[in-house]
Symmetry: C2
Subunit: 270 residues, 2 copies
């Protein structure tokens, strides 16, 4: 974290009684910023609002977020990431929030990881940790992320860059830090996220442009795919070169998808 | 929160990059303290250690917790609650913790709610929100509590004091803030928590003394029970007087169980 605003003030700390800490009672977004422009800003705010509505947290006015964004981008390098957190605010000791609670917004600036288009290819493994099942929170980006923390700990940095996670029934859902796209018979498919997973903004854009389709996938269908990629809104499309024993050489379909994404959003130009 | 120690120093705030906030990456305990004595202290620390081991968080030496406890109890009223939180510490923006992360402990003092033995009886409802399913975290008291926050929001304070939660398959698991005990044919039964739920310390003690037994229960078996109680380590045993349409008058079996608990732990004397 380079810089941080808590409710608009420069601060590197927050009250210890914040319910985001106590219960994970909040939502978050990570937004790629390129030369002062926040990529898919409206989409990120819309998802944050959807999540907050499910949790019953009032969302601060958009101008508050915009103000934080401008303040942090003023001194930013050409490429950086803003993380937006909205918590229910301070609370007592109990699941019911006090009547007087005011939501708290925390916006911080971070180093941007490289564009997925310059990634040589991810080495993936299947994680034993399942994506937690909580139907009311499916698709949302909330602060209860222990499933991904546990899955991440299964990777041994020397051998794997990313992990694939299944739901509790063993059905493939997502990579740890991005959505999974699977090439089968010339079509890019991505698992439905009705019960668990985070519905990524990059995935959403690709769906809208008809470049990918939602389809349930079995593990063996992932393993025998013509190609795999992981996508997220910070890195775009990351090719996969290995999953367990299976290897994929760099392929035209992945390059083509990266090109199409770059047309949709120039931040991901190759 | 009345007073708070962060890593042993009096502080009401913590770094905004704590992973407890970012991901709910930590565990917690709430401990009843009566006249300077922390009730079931060793049990609470043991569960905290079990949880931290699953998450791969190193637990501070017991003397550190003891020191915090003594410091906060020095000026405490005869009855209070200490909340212990252990997070993985500060982190970057990513599920993998930095190599250098140091776990952070946060101990705060709170007002104690009344002994369950003086409670007239809880009015319960079934919550629509399910207990999240994450087998690796079953039974533990970690910081990913959005399921209980959502369930709590289903109660309308005027009508209900507590809620009963089922797992995603619809099987009764627990009350929101305590374990569920169900009287059937003269035996107190409590649902197994192999897949979800928090294995409470009060429940653990009652099991050890052979006062309750683990048994899977259907919703209709809960509704047609001879009596219901909710138990937790802060309030002991709370009688239930109503669940939906069904009502239970004060009954001898509940009083007897409360008496037995008071023999085990005098903090819960009637």
């Amino acid at each position: 974290m380079i810089e941080c605003l808590v409710d608009g003030s420069e601060q590197l700390s927050l009250p210890a009684d914040d319910r985001g800490l106590a219960y994970g009672d909040g939502v978050f977004e990570t937004v790629l910023c390129v030369e002062g422009r926040a990529v898919w800003w409206d989409r990120h705010l819309a998802r944050l609002e959807r999540g907050a509505a499910v949790l019953g947290i009032a969302v601060p006015d958009e101008t508050a977020w915009q103000h934080d964004r401008e303040r942090l981008l003023r001194t930013a390098p050409p490429r950086c990431v803003l993380k937006l957190i909205l918590t229910r605010g301070s609370g007592g000791r109990g699941y019911a929030p006090p009547q007087s609670t005011r939501p708290r917004r925390i916006v911080s600036r971070h180093v941007a990881p490289p564009n997925g288009a310059v990634c040589d290819g991810l080495r993936l493994r299947w994680c034993a940790t399942r994506w937690s099942l909580q139907p009311r929170l499916a698709g949302l980006k909330h602060l209860n992320c222990l499933d991904r923390v546990l899955a991440r700990a299964e990777l041994h940095e020397a051998d794997f860059d990313e992990g694939l996670m299944c739901d509790v029934a063993g059905q493939p859902i997502s990579a740890i830090s991005g959505n999974l796209l699977v090439l089968r018979q010339g079509r890019w498919l991505t698992p439905p996220l009705d019960a668990c997973g985070v519905a990524g903004i990059c995935r959403e854009r690709l769906l809208e442009h008809g470049l990918i389709e939602i389809a349930p996938l079995r593990r063996d269908e992932v393993e025998t795919a013509g190609g795999l990629v992981v996508c997220n809104s910070v890195r775009g499309i990351l090719p996969v070169i290995r999953l367990g024993e299976r290897q994929w050489p760099p392929n035209e379909a992945t390059r083509a998808l990266q090109h199409r994404l770059a047309e949709i959003e120039p931040a991901f130009t190759l």
